[in-house]
């Protein structure tokens, strides 16, 4: 089915700065008068309640973990993402199916199975992957010595008895999965270690070609289009 909206996805491990970037992008698009909607991973109210029960009890297996996240995604997809795209919105997804591909495979789910479970999801117009070395991202998260939750730290994988150490190994494995998808899924890689402002400039440049002509301005679109091509060559 054709959609007139645009779907923009940000991916990256915790602490990669993607949420900051998508927030700034959302503000910018709204400022330009574009209908924009943001959807976050694991945020369906209906599913959240049930997932958190299971999470607290430490009851989840890789399969049920995967299926509950797929349920959450499907709920947001069926009720928000897809209808909004049909209505012409710019939908910004803070994590999309790639998060499931990465995490579920690290947890031991079959990658073909996971991909097929999510195969109803429309391909995004742009996937921005914020790439950060594992130590930098993990330090950003761990600096305040937060209470890492059981699954968040990947404790279910028995990587280490120390939650911080487990978290570090777990995040490292997720990066490996992201890296393996970068080419096949067509990620646009953004250096998540550079300045917030510089990253946002690159993000907006990438979004320009997707904007309607009357908003981006015809001549600018052309120039920007060329620039994008040039920068891809270099």
């Amino acid at each position: 089915m054709k959609t007139s909206g645009k779907l923009i996805v940000v991916e990256g491990i915790d602490g990669s700065g993607k949420s900051t970037q998508i927030h700034l992008l959302e503000k910018w698009l709204a400022y330009k008068g574009i209908n924009v909607f943001k959807s976050e991973w694991n945020s369906s109210e209906m599913v959240k309640e049930i997932t958190s029960k299971g999470k607290k009890k430490g009851l989840l297996t890789p399969t049920t973990f995967s299926l509950l996240h797929a349920t959450d995604f499907a709920d947001r997809y069926e009720r928000n993402i897809f209808p909004l795209l049909r209505a012409g919105y710019f939908v910004l997804a803070d994590r999309y199916v790639y998060t499931a591909f990465a995490r579920d495979v690290v947890r031991g789910c079959n990658d073909e199975w996971v991909k097929k479970v999510y195969d109803f999801a429309i391909r995004p117009d742009l996937i921005l992957y914020f790439k950060v070395p594992v130590d930098i991202a993990v330090d950003r998260i761990l600096v305040g010595r937060p209470n890492l939750k059981y699954y968040e730290a990947g404790m279910d994988l028995s990587l280490s008895n120390d939650p911080y150490e487990s978290y570090r190994i777990f995040q490292g494995r997720i990066i490996e999965q992201y890296d393996s998808m970068t080419e096949t899924e067509g990620f646009t890689v953004i250096d998540g270690t550079s300045n917030i402002e510089d990253q946002q400039k690159i993000v907006r440049k990438r979004i320009m070609p997707l904007l309607p002509n009357n908003i981006s301005g015809k001549t600018r679109t052309k120039r920007r289009g060329n620039e994008t091509k040039n920068s891809q060559k270099s």
Binding site: M46, V47, E49, I50, K53, G54, K57, L59, L60, T61, P62, T63, T64, L67, L68, A70, T71, A74, D75, Y77, E78, R79, G108, C109, N110, E112, W113, K116, V117, D119, F120
Partner: protein, 242 residues
Amino acid sequence: MKQKTHRNLNTRTVEFYGHGIKHLQDVSIKGRLIVIEGPDASGRSTQIELITSRLEADGHAVLNTGLKRSELVSKGILEAKRDYTLGRKTLALFYAADFADQFEYKIIPALQAGYIVLADRYIYTLIARNVIRGLDRKWSHNLYGFAIKPDLVFYLDVEPAVLVHRVFQKNSFLDYYESGADLGLSDDMYESFLIYQNKISREFHAMQKRYGLVPINGNRSVSEINSDLQKRIDNFLQKALH
């Protein structure tokens, strides 16, 4: 004649429908999985009760399972159905999570421990419901690729026209989902029920070969159906025992 207590079910590894579950790949099981499928009011639970008593009398440990009974999400499904309008994919995945939870925490451990697991419905009902609601058939089959192949699957085949009377005798009203009322098949609930159950029945017949479902004529009396089922189960166990 050898005493029954000296005979055991032989051990083997599980066989999955699809990609399976990695950490269960080499699990060996001693028990057997027997599934009874069929629409609401087809007499499944009565048959399961009768078979359970008989198997227990014969000295087998028996575990009963069914859909919507998981620790994790069974309540959630009921609440969600009441409070929200759920999309079809969402509901399908919810049911899959519920099934997976019971599969890993109840069915597999019981099979490992040597139980005969009698399942009141399995993945087939869930797949049939999905397909009728317009979800891709291949998608549903893949979704349940983590499930193992049961040893026996019976399908209580009851004509919708007979079934509708059993439902009225049991509940005095037609269930919303079991009548396919969410599908807008007909404003007339009675007609909607018949159309829906015919669709389900067709879907089961389509799955018969692929999944080795054994159709059982469910239009007969409880005792006739029971002796038919019991004979088939006894034959199977006779061969499985050594």
